[in-house]
C-alpha cells in the first residue's frame, strides 16, 4: 500500500510539476530529486511528452522578422566581438605591428599569456580561468605571461624571457573593439610584478587585444603608443 501511495504521489507530483502547479519550494525539491532519480525522469518524460499534445491544436504563426534579428544579436554576440576584433586589426596596422613583425625591429618571439582569472577570496578554492591570450613573433627571445586577478583588480605579469631595449620601457595597452589603445601601464623592470587595472578597463578585457610597445623610459607621454608595437595578443575565453 505504501508503495502504491508513493507511486501515486510521484505521479501526481510529476503532473503538477509539468503543469507548473507546484510552489517554488515544491518545485525546487522536485527538481532536486529529478536530477538524481532516473525513474522520476522517466515519469517526467511520460507526462511532458503527453501534456505537450495540448498544444497540438495551436496554429503556427510566423513571427515577424525582427524577432530573429534580435535573437541573432543576442546569441551570436561573440560574432559582433569577432568583428570588432577584426576592426582592431586596423589599429594594429596603424601601430606598426606588421612591419615590426616583418622587419624584425625587435628580434623577438614574444609570447604573452594573459590569464584573466576570477579569483575567489584568498581562502577560496581553485581559481577559475576565464581568458587566455597568446602572441608569438619570430624567435623566442621574449616571453611574457600575465594573469588577471579580478578580486584584486590587478594584472600579474611574469616576463619569463627577454627585456626592454636598453634605456627603453615596455608599455602594455588594451585595444577594445575599434577603440584607440588605452594604456595599462609601463611594465615594471622586475620580472614579476602586478599592474593595477581599473574596473572599467577590466570589463573590456574580454574579447579585447593586448599590445606591448617600445616606449621611452617612463612610458609614452602622449597617451598613445609612440614606438614600435612589439607584439599583440588576443584575449580569448579559456
Amino acid at each position: 500500500m505504501t508503495d502504491e501511495f508513493d507511486r501515486d504521489e510521484e505521479h501526481a507530483l510529476t503532473a503538477e510539476y509539468v503543469l507548473g502547479l507546484l510552489t517554488e519550494d515544491e518545485t525546487a525539491a522536485y527538481e532536486d530529486v529529478l536530477s538524481v532519480d532516473p525513474d522520476l525522469r522517466t515519469e517526467y518524460a511520460f507526462w511532458a511528452d503527453r501534456i505537450v499534445a495540448l498544444t497540438d491544436d495551436i496554429a503556427p504563426v510566423a513571427p515577424p522578422p525582427h524577432v530573429l534579428t534580435r535573437i541573432r544579436e543576442t546569441i551570436f554576440h561573440e560574432a559582433a566581438g569577432d568583428a570588432s576584433r577584426g576592426a582592431g586589426g586596423s589599429w594594429l596596422r596603424r601601430l606598426g605591428l606588421l612591419p615590426a613583425m616583418a622587419g624584425g625591429l625587435v628580434a623577438a618571439l614574444l609570447v604573452l599569456w594573459v590569464f584573466t582569472t576570477m579569483m575567489p577570496p584568498t581562502d577560496g578554492g581553485d581559481a577559475a580561468l576565464t581568458y587566455v591570450a597568446q602572441i608569438a613573433a619570430d624567435d623566442d627571445s621574449l616571453v611574457v605571461q600575465a594573469s588577471f586577478d579580478a578580486a584584486a583588480g590587478s594584472l600579474s605579469v611574469d616576463r619569463q624571457v627577454g627585456a626592454a631595449p636598453a634605456g627603453r620601457a615596455l608599455e602594455l595597452w588594451l585595444i577594445a573593439g575599434d577603440n584607440p589603445p588605452v594604456s595599462l601601464g609601463v611594465m615594471p623592470e622586475d620580472r614579476t610584478a602586478t599592474m593595477p587595472v581599473s574596473a572599467d578597463l577590466a570589463s573590456q578585457l574580454s574579447g579585447g587585444t593586448l599590445a606591448i610597445s617600445d616606449e621611452p623610459a617612463g612610458g609614452s607621454t602622449t597617451g598613445a603608443p609612440t614606438g614600435a608595437v612589439l607584439a599583440t595578443g588576443q584575449v580569448t575565453d579559456a
Binding site: 501515486d8 505521479h11 501526481a12 503532473a15 503538477e16 509539468v18 503543469l19 507548473g20 502547479l21 525522469r41 522517466t42 517526467y44 518524460a45 511520460f46 507526462w47 511532458a48 511528452d49 503527453r50 501534456i51 505537450v52 499534445a53 495540448l54 498544444t55 497540438d56 495551436i58 496554429a59 503556427p60 504563426v61 510566423a62 513571427p63 515577424p64 525582427h66 524577432v67 530573429l68 534580435r70 535573437i71 543576442t74 546569441i75 551570436f76
Partner: protein, 183 residues
Amino acid sequence: MTTTSDIEDMIARMAIGDRAAFEGLYAATSAKLFGVCLRVLGNRAEAEDALQEAFVKIWRNADRYRVNGLSPMTWLITVTRNHSVDRVRARRSKMGAGLDEAADVADSRPGPEALAIAASDRGRIVDCMGQLDPDKAGAVRRAYLEGETYQELADHYDVPLNTVRTWLRRSLLKLRECLSHDG
C-alpha cells in the same frame, strides 16, 4: 518536411555552436513556438519577447537537451511554454490578479513558412481528457495553457484551494491511468 530526427540533429549541432543548425531549427519551429507564446500570453509584443528569450534559452541549453529524455519537439515546446508562463505570471502579479487582456490572438493566422512537424500519436490525450469531468479537464488546460496557479483555479471554480488541489490531483491520476493504456 522536417522530421523528429532532423530536429534532434539540429539541437545536437547547436550544442557545439553551429549557427546553421540554429537557423534551420528556427525556420522549422519558430512558427509553432510563436503560436504557443501567443496562446499563453495573448499579446503579440509580449509573445515576441517570450519567443526571443525562449530561443536564447534553447541555444544556451542545447547541450543539456539529451539528459532529460524528452522528444525534441516536447523539449522545445516545454521550454517555450514554461517561459511564457513565467512571463504571464509576472505580468499578473504586477497587475494584481485579474483580467488578462485576452485579445489579438484571434487575428493570428498560420504563417506561410509553418512547417509540418512530425506529430507523435497524441490523439490519446484528447480522448483521455474527454473522460474527465469537463471542469477538471478545463482546469488542466487552464494550468497548462494559461499558466493558472492553484489559487487562480480555486478563484475561478469558486472552491477552496485545498479542495481544488485534491480534486485536480485525483483527476491527474485518472488521466495518467488512461494515458498509460496508450498503445
